[in-house]
Symmetry: C2
Subunit: 245 residues, 2 copies
């Protein structure tokens, strides 16, 4: 059976506040869940500071390697929001006001009797040729250029933008997973579990220690895009546990 | 005034389960906080899967660039725990059982009447020449080799190992920060705030939107290693807010 090659994705989270520990990132885990549901393999994540050279370098490494790259953070109206310029620099494209973005924001602020300041106009800047990603929360859009999708860092805005973006991405066959609770510790099952994993292509088996009431148990996670292989591997794992218990 | 150059740190979180979204990482944010308190600049974070080639590549990139690299994950007793071997490969060093680690684990399991299985022995493997990082929670140690410090992924073990590790790291001058609550939105203050930031070396100013009760406000964070500069910048920010409100 030949399966379609799944798309790969990477995420670049941008922001000094995450690296200082002041803000705890909440976008990476959400993005990972959404990619898994869409059948896209999230293959790498990087976090870099608000520094143009570092953003450009990471973005160029990731966009060359993966099918899809999503960024979070740095697209607001203040001086520390430099993502649009950095993305333009990475692609070697000029960055300017996106006409449609200007119209959306002008109408948004006029409707609220708020001045459309120069700072707010900064949020309309994209590399030339970018298409917009809708922001149903606060209007200021994200944008896509090539295989790079630039989104806000504020979690509820990131999530809303991602919901719009993901509809347009080519979905793969979702990986299904089974969780098997094992009453033994990892050290008791490590050997036989390795044999089960080694004998099976197209199935990945992970084991995760749990500690409660003074003893270790294990959660075994079996993952595959092929349900028949998943069923067979789950049976093998359950038989192993029965034999060792 | 010449200041000592602060140390830089990077973190490499290893694990399929984080990239699938099944496990939400809780180590990055904690590590970031501890580094900030120690006056060490966390400059980059990467997350890669349980794949030896990917771990080696990321580790070699990070250890060449930063003073300190910390890894989390992949040092347990099962087949998917490949971090020790990958670190050995990155350094071009043979990997084998660390004598002191074997003694610690043998005594730990004997004391609990548990068999010291081959799987458990896997947790004593380090690159040649590594020194151990104590694990007061469950004994199986982390290790340091060169500027790379390899620690567990389970958060309470990671935290305990980090507490031991950080005592041995050269600390810098901690960055202090001030938070100023601003009743205006980022779009209202972006211009003047940029001027304040541009005029001040050794001070970084970040602004973070808050949305509550139907309107945007801003939290402005001023950071510096120099308290006098911090005081002066805070006054300038407060004067700006008074002038605009």
């Amino acid at each position: 059976m030949t399966e379609p090659v799944p798309s790969t994705a990477a995420m670049l989270a941008i922001g000094d506040e995450i690296l200082s520990g002041r803000t705890k990132d909440r976008n990476i885990g959400h993005f990972a869940e959404v990619m898994t549901l869409a059948g896209i393999d999230l293959a790498e994540v990087r976090i870099v500071p608000d520094d143009a050279a570092r953003i450009v370098e990471a973005l160029n490494a990731l966009r060359a390697r993966y099918d899809i790259v999503v960024t979070s953070g740095g697209i607001g109206p203040t001086h520390d929001d430099i993502t649009a310029d950095a993305v333009g620099a990475a692609f070697g494209l000029p960055v300017g006001e996106h006409e449609e973005a200007v119209e959306r924001l002008r109408s948004y602020y006029e409707g609220r009797d708020l001045p459309f300041t120069d700072a707010r106009r900064r949020m309309t800047r994209t590399p030339q040729g970018a298409s917009l990603i809708d922001n149903p929360v606060s209007t200021a859009p994200g944008f896509s250029i090539g295989n790079v999708h630039v989104m806000a860092g504020v979690p509820h805005v990131f999530q809303a933008m991602l919901e719009n973006l993901v509809k347009s991405l080519p979905h793969g066959i979702p990986i299904e997973s089974r969780a098997v609770a094992c009453p033994l510790g990892e050290g008791d099952i490590g050997g036989p579990l390795a044999e089960i994993a080694r004998a099976r292509d197209g199935v990945s088996i992970g084991s995760y220690p749990r500690f409660a009431e003074g003893r270790y148990t294990t959660e075994i996670i079996i993952r595959s895009r092929d349900r028949a292989k998943l069923d067979e591997a789950e049976q093998a794992v359950r038989a192993m546990i029965d034999a060792l218990s």
